[in-house]
């Protein structure tokens, strides 16, 4: 499968762009979307999920124009929005049956599939309680279950690990990896480590524009040999921060261990192995 985005723009008003001349091709596998708040990640995902229309540009799936024919992708779409809700009066079974009807799936196995999905997200025992009584994490797990109701071929996860504890996040990442065999998966997250461990490719966005896209190694290459660590007295830290891009700081008694990106390291600094987070911070802070 090939999802092709060509010169896509979303303009909210004369000056404000959600997306600006955005081009990208996505093939089977996991694409991690990274970007600060307001970068346009959710806008891009909403357009691909067909609930928002671009102002200009084209969006095709295997050559089909999905802006003109959104139902083409809707049949094979699994979408987990960032801030979704539930019908509080329905229980988990009823809610998933309703979502299945929306997706246009059914058949004799539907009930069994729902049961297995509920078991997978550990909601079997709570399945008959109104969803209105669920915690935030339980609702998030219902959201994950609904994504898998149809056999989705294009999966969009917008901040999917919100509300999940660290162990659940690991299991969720395993699930995504499993799904990625013959699907296109687009995953956005603020947590770089979520993307780092599973994404085949990474796209970094800022202010509605694509800054870079490539494999993790390619993206990290931008800061390779530029990441250093140094230990400074506390009173020197503020001055240091004005001169260098500090990506991490750790308190150590009266001193501070700083991780920073620079073309010229300061005296006493040690070179570090660059990570995706370093590259992300470098690219988003240094571009525009």
């Amino acid at each position: 499968m090939l999802l092709a985005i060509q010169n896509l723009s979303k303009k909210y008003n004369k000056e404000k762009f959600g997306l600006k001349d955005y081009s990208l091709t996505i093939e089977n596998g996991i694409l991690g979307l990274l970007g600060p708040n307001g970068a346009g990640k959710s806008t891009l995902m909403k357009i691909i999920a067909t609930i928002s229309q671009p102002t200009s540009g084209t969006l095709t799936l295997d050559g089909h124009d999905i802006v003109k024919d959104p139902n083409y992708i809707r049949k094979i779409l699994g979408y987990l929005p960032q801030d979704f809700g539930v019908y509080a009066n329905l229980n988990a079974y009823e809610f998933l049956e309703y979502i299945a009807a929306m997706k246009g799936v059914g058949g004799v196995n539907l009930r069994k599939r729902i049961e297995m999905l509920l078991e997978g997200v550990n909601l079997t025992e709570a399945a008959k309680l109104p969803i209105g009584t669920y915690s935030g994490g339980m609702k998030q797990r219902i959201g994950i279950a609904q994504v898998l109701l149809n056999d989705p071929k294009v999966l969009i996860f917008d901040e999917p690990t919100v509300g999940l504890d660290p162990e659940e996040r690991v299991r969720f990442r395993n699930l995504i990896s499993d799904l990625a065999q013959d699907c296109i998966i687009i995953l956005s997250s603020h947590i770089v480590s979520d993307i780092e461990t599973i994404a085949d490719e990474v796209a970094i966005m800022k202010s509605g524009e694509l800054i870079t896209k490539g494999t993790q190694a390619t993206v990290i290459n931008a800061v390779d040999g530029k990441v250093f660590e140094t230990v400074l007295d506390n009173d020197l830290v503020n001055d240091f921060k004005t001169k260098h891009l500090v990506v991490n700081s750790m308190r150590q008694k009266d001193k501070m261990r700083l991780r920073y990106i620079s073309n010229k390291p300061t005296d006493g600094s040690t070179v570090c192995t660059a990570s995706l987070e370093d590259a992300y911070l470098f690219l988003t802070k240094n571009n525009g």
Partner: protein, 521 residues
């Protein structure tokens, strides 16, 4: 004091920036335009015997003030109620609960923002009434006090009281909006029937919260003294009379008895007392706790956490097939309609259905049916907007053919509920061979659901439909043919054709707007 003002300001801005408010304002302006009919109009709004006033400053000022007082009290309650619920839904309430603002001050700020919302409408209607003098005044001089005094002494205390009543209703009946509506409906009708109409007395003048009685008593007194000793108030409202032999008289305003002015101050004080009492019972957004206490057996805490997310293997899940039928949608929509509101309320519905069997046919059709349908107002009002309010629209809008499948299912489910409730009456007509009345009721069911869906999508909320449905029901209970949507008073092919045309327009707008909405999140 600043944060106190901020709550009022934020609340006021949030409400007045809604489509529901703007549309209500537009409708209010249109209705205000009809408060003072031209001399050749086929209706009157205030009539004393066979007399009505010349359209001078006093008549226009007084009539528009009491009409605004009545009309704004009637719809204002529906417009402003829900302020606390909004804070619950948006979870702003939780932040408020942690601040030092007292319950009384919070509720008072809600009341004052309610008042400001209604005052905005009253203010615009006030300006419109002055404009009416120049349109319909035939050269009578403009006297500003004849406008200011009646608005100040009747309309303002009335909307102050309504603002307070809406807050109190939310505190005590917050979980059951339909009971708030029903309670207000009964209250308003009791006041309208026993205080605003009928013979006047100082007591009635004082206990009339809307300040209508003092004005109509003054008018009656004036006509009886100068023109006709037997003339009495016909009604306050839209009176479509066949008798066009109406004479006019020159009304120069009436005096404001001190007992009336004191009573207004008492009403304002009483409104504040209602807020004070409500503050003692206000939940301060600690709602979940209350629900949990009732549902001990269902506590989620009783379920062991275990591993929260297992490894799911997609390849091991049973295969599913394509199914684009709308039946599952209709089933779930009906389920949600059925579960909305307290369970015991179905006993009221059941009682209404039984009453449709045993009461005389005319009463069943003209009175019971519109009441029974109105009781479902909160079930229908968010029929097509609940996706957005519950943030499900990300799923529904991205689903397969949502306009062709989901929206029709919601409409069908709404109609099934309306028809089911009206079924005893429809069966009675069917047994008597009166198929036309069965058709009228069915058309009424389709209309009211289409109306709810259209106004919901148009305004993005449920408020507008709730206000207008209440207004339409009130008109129907006063047996005014204009508002008859279910064939209680009207009949014939022309009527059915008109209803079909209106329904077609409502549905066309609904589908077109929803289609646009789906791709413009």
């Amino acid at each position: 004091m600043n944060y106190y003002k901020s709550i009022i300001k934020a609340d006021y801005l949030q409400r007045t920036r809604s489509y529901a408010f703007l549309i209500t304002l537009a409708i209010s302006l249109y209705i205000a335009y009809t408060f003072v009919p031209p001399s050749d109009a086929a209706y009157s709004t205030v009539q004393i015997g066979n007399f009505r006033g010349e359209n001078n400053s006093a008549w226009i000022g007084y009539v528009s003030a009491i009409m605004t007082s009545t009309f704004l009290s009637l719809i204002g309650f529906f417009l402003v109620t829900g302020g606390i619920k909004k804070d619950i839904d948006t979870e702003v309430g939780m932040i408020i609960a942690t601040t030092k603002i007292s319950n009384f001050k919070y509720l008072l700020s809600k009341m004052l923002s309610n008042f400001l919302v209604l005052l905005t409408i009253a203010g615009i209607v006030f300006v419109m009434s002055i404009a009416l003098l120049f349109v319909r005044g035939k050269g009578y001089p403009f006297e500003i006090t004849q406008f200011i005094l009646p608005y100040l002494l009747t309309t303002l205390p009335a909307i102050f009281f309504i603002s307070s009543l809406a807050v109190m209703a939310e505190v005590f009946l917050g979980r059951w909006p339909v009971l708030q509506y029903l309670g207000f409906f009964i209250f308003f009708n009791v006041i309208a029937a026993n205080v605003m109409n009928g013979t006047g007395s100082a007591t009635k003048m004082a206990i009339d919260p809307f300040g209508v009685k003092v004005v109509t008593m003054g008018m009656e007194d004036f006509v009886q003294k100068h023109y006709d000793a037997k003339a009495s108030l016909v009604s306050v409202g839209f009176n479509f009379s066949e008798n066009r032999a109406i004479k006019t008289f020159l009304f120069n305003g009436s005096t404001w008895p001190s007992v009336f002015i004191i009573s207004r101050l008492i009403w304002i004080g009483f409104s504040l007392i209602l807020i004070f009492i409500s503050a003692k019972f206000f939940h301060r957004f600690d709602i979940k706790e209350k629900i949990r206490k009732k549902k001990k057996n269902n506590l989620l805490e009783n379920i062991p956490a275990g591993i929260l997310l297992h490894d799911i293997k997609l390849s091991l899940l049973p295969s599913i097939t394509a199914n684009y039928a709308v039946k599952p949608f209709i089933k779930t929509e009906l389920l949600m309609l059925f579960r909305k509101g307290p369970k015991w309320f179905w006993l009221v519905n059941l009682g209404g259905m039984i009453a449709l069997i045993f009461t005389p046919l005319t009463i069943a059709h003209q009175v019971l049916l519109p009441i029974l349908w109105f009781l479902q107002v909160s079930r229908w009002s968010d029929l097509a907007t609940k996706e957005k309010t519950n943030r499900i629209h990300y799923f529904t809008y991205a689903s397969y053919q949502p306009v062709k499948r989901l929206l029709p299912s919601q409409i069908i489910a709404g109609i099934i509920l309306a028809v089911a409730l009206a079924s005893p009456l429809m069966i009675r007509y069917l047994i008597s061979g009166d198929l036309m009345h069965v058709l009228y009721i069915f058309t009424g069911a389709v209309f009211i659901v289409s109306f709810a869906v259209c106004l919901g999508i148009l305004s993005g909320g449920k408020k507008l439909f709730e206000i207008l449905f209440f207004l339409v029901t009130y008109i129907n209970l006063n047996l005014i043919p204009f508002g008859d949507y279910f064939g209680g008073l009207n009949s014939g092919i022309g009527y059915t054709g008109l209803m079909a045309a209106i329904i077609s327009i409502l549905l066309t707008i609904s589908f077109a707007l929803r289609k646009w909405e789906i791709s413009h999140l």
